[in-house]
């Protein structure tokens, strides 16, 4: 466990050693941003709509009679911004993108593509790992912002349709109570979620052992570890910002 952690940290540091190499080839990162972002959009859109709806529903259910309706916007919107969208989206990205990254790199390992890079004088960690890590640091926050917007709209609409909160009231509540601190508190952690997901996924990809089960094993380990680390990070940020 400790040795794994040490190896992971060392690996990530080695990856960042390729910054110069990658800066001279920005296309490597752009390609990953495109791939990772595109992979996630459908599932994120779908999930965000339902996140918005269920949050509006749950909040109005918990509000007691007599509490003004704009509180659905205030509490529900804030919950989405601070916690639900960042965490759920990050976990979804782990499931959709992280697993894909590990499987892709693991396959490259067992089919000797990584050896091929090395024999051609290309540092495989610089060439493969760093662009994915950098792209993840950008893509996860972007997806969370996107999800914030979609879920807030979905929440407002479903608040109107299901529990009959007028949309202007919802917006009023959101504007009045959601602070910049909330938005930042939700967003600031996302690059770290991206870093965790990206680096863990490539790390396990590179650790893949030869043989038929190798890739499957790596993917499982990668998804579980990324999800756990993201939840730990999430708690640390919450403790630090909102205690």
């Amino acid at each position: 466990m400790v040795r794994q952690l040490g190896r992971y940290v060392l690996f990530t540091m080695r990856a960042f050693g390729g910054m110069g190499y990658v800066l001279r080839r920005p296309k490597l990162v752009l390609k990953q941003v495109y791939t990772l972002g595109l992979l996630s959009l459908p599932v994120i859109s779908f999930a965000s709509i339902f996140l918005g709806m269920v949050t509006a529903l749950m909040v109005s259910y918990q509000l007691e009679a007599g509490v003004p309706k704009f509180y659905v916007g205030a509490t529900g919107g804030r919950t989405i911004l601070i916690e639900i969208a960042p965490l759920v989206i990050a976990l979804l990205v782990v499931a959709r993108v992280g697993s894909n990254i590990t499987a892709r790199i693991g396959t490259m390992k067992v089919t000797e593509q990584i050896d091929a890079l090395e024999t051609m004088g290309i540092n495989s960690v610089h060439y493969l790992a760093l662009p994915i890590i950098l792209a993840s640091i950008v893509v996860v926050p972007a997806l969370v912002i996107y999800s914030d917007l979609i879920s807030l709209v979905a929440a407002a609409v479903s608040a109107k349709v299901i529990v009959n909160v007028p949309i202007p009231q919802y917006i009023f509540g959101l504007k009045r109570y959601a602070t910049l601190n909330d938005v930042l508190g939700g967003l600031l952690k996302t690059p770290f979620f991206g870093l965790a997901m990206g680096s863990i996924s490539v790390y396990y990809g590179f650790q893949t052992e030869l043989g038929a089960e190798g890739v499957g094993k790596s993917v499982t380990a990668s998804v579980v570890t990324s999800a756990a680390l993201i939840m730990i990070l999430d708690f640390i940020v919450a403790f630090w910002m909102f205690r």
């Binding site: 000797e112 050896d115 090395e118 024999t119 051609m120 004088g121 290309i122 540092n123």
Partner: protein, 235 residues
């Protein structure tokens, strides 16, 4: 010249290579024959430092490269030496996410050629292996096994190596493609004056193209006395 002395390699408890001495003279086509699982691929990878040998020394052009394999700070030096070698992998090992042209361009990555020059080299190497220009834009998944091998050979010769390693270049191909690749191996070794190191279990290939032949068996290399008796050695 490539020289190996006292090379041993094992994985956890499993012995694969033990006390191997080997030499490939410049310009020769050197074959290592051995059955499946005898350690042929491991041997090639040890020479390149893709696997680190447990004991032994490996000299490439008189330079002992084994110390370079263990220390990260020698990585750049090792990289420079690896660039003398083109490697045709057993499964071709083309990068799935890149087109044929980009795969070949990878081999030129460290040379920083201008774009036109790089393009010219890609065309030239494709022509050398007898592939048409239109395969440039195809992806590995769209190629047959034989074509993948040819592209892998084009990629291996792109950076003008002095040595070419072939790992099972004919396995899994039809007779026509085997003949084509056999001819290509001979042709490249003569035209480019490279040293070829071929590991295979294809006796026919060894008989047609081999100049020096080794046999890998019981963890170690030996030289058969006569090529005509190759099959017997296999038993």
């Amino acid at each position: 010249m490539i020289k190996v002395s006292g090379l041993s390699k094992c994985f956890s408890q499993q012995k694969v290579l033990e006390g191997i001495d080997f030499e490939a003279q410049d310009g020769r086509r050197v074959f290592i024959l051995g059955k499946s699982g005898s350690g042929k691929t491991v041997f090639l990878k040890c020479i390149l430092g893709l696997l680190v040998p447990d004991t032994g020394k490996i000299f490439i052009d008189e330079m002992d490269i084994t110390p370079l394999m263990v220390k990260p700070r020698f990585k750049r030096k090792l990289t420079r030496i690896r660039q003398k070698i083109g490697y045709v992998f057993q499964g071709s090992a083309l990068l799935d996410s890149l087109s044929v042209a980009d795969n070949i361009a990878l081999a030129l990555d460290s040379k920083n050629f201008p774009w036109e020059e790089q393009n010219r080299i890609i065309d030239e190497k494709l022509e050398m292996v007898g592939l048409e220009r239109k395969v440039r834009r195809k992806y590995p998944a769209q190629l047959s096994g034989g074509m993948k091998k040819l592209v892998a050979i084009a990629r291996a010769i792109a950076a003008e190596p002095r040595y070419i390693f072939y790992d099972e270049p004919t396995t899994g191909l039809d007779p026509a493609m085997i003949t084509r690749i056999t001819k290509l191996i001979i042709e490249l070794s003569e035209k480019l004056e490279v040293t070829s190191l071929i590991v295979t279990h294809d006796m026919g290939l060894a008989r047609r193209a081999g100049q020096d032949i080794y046999f890998l068996k019981n963890y170690t290399l030996s030289r058969p006395r006569r090529i005509t008796r190759l099959e017997e050695l296999y038993e």
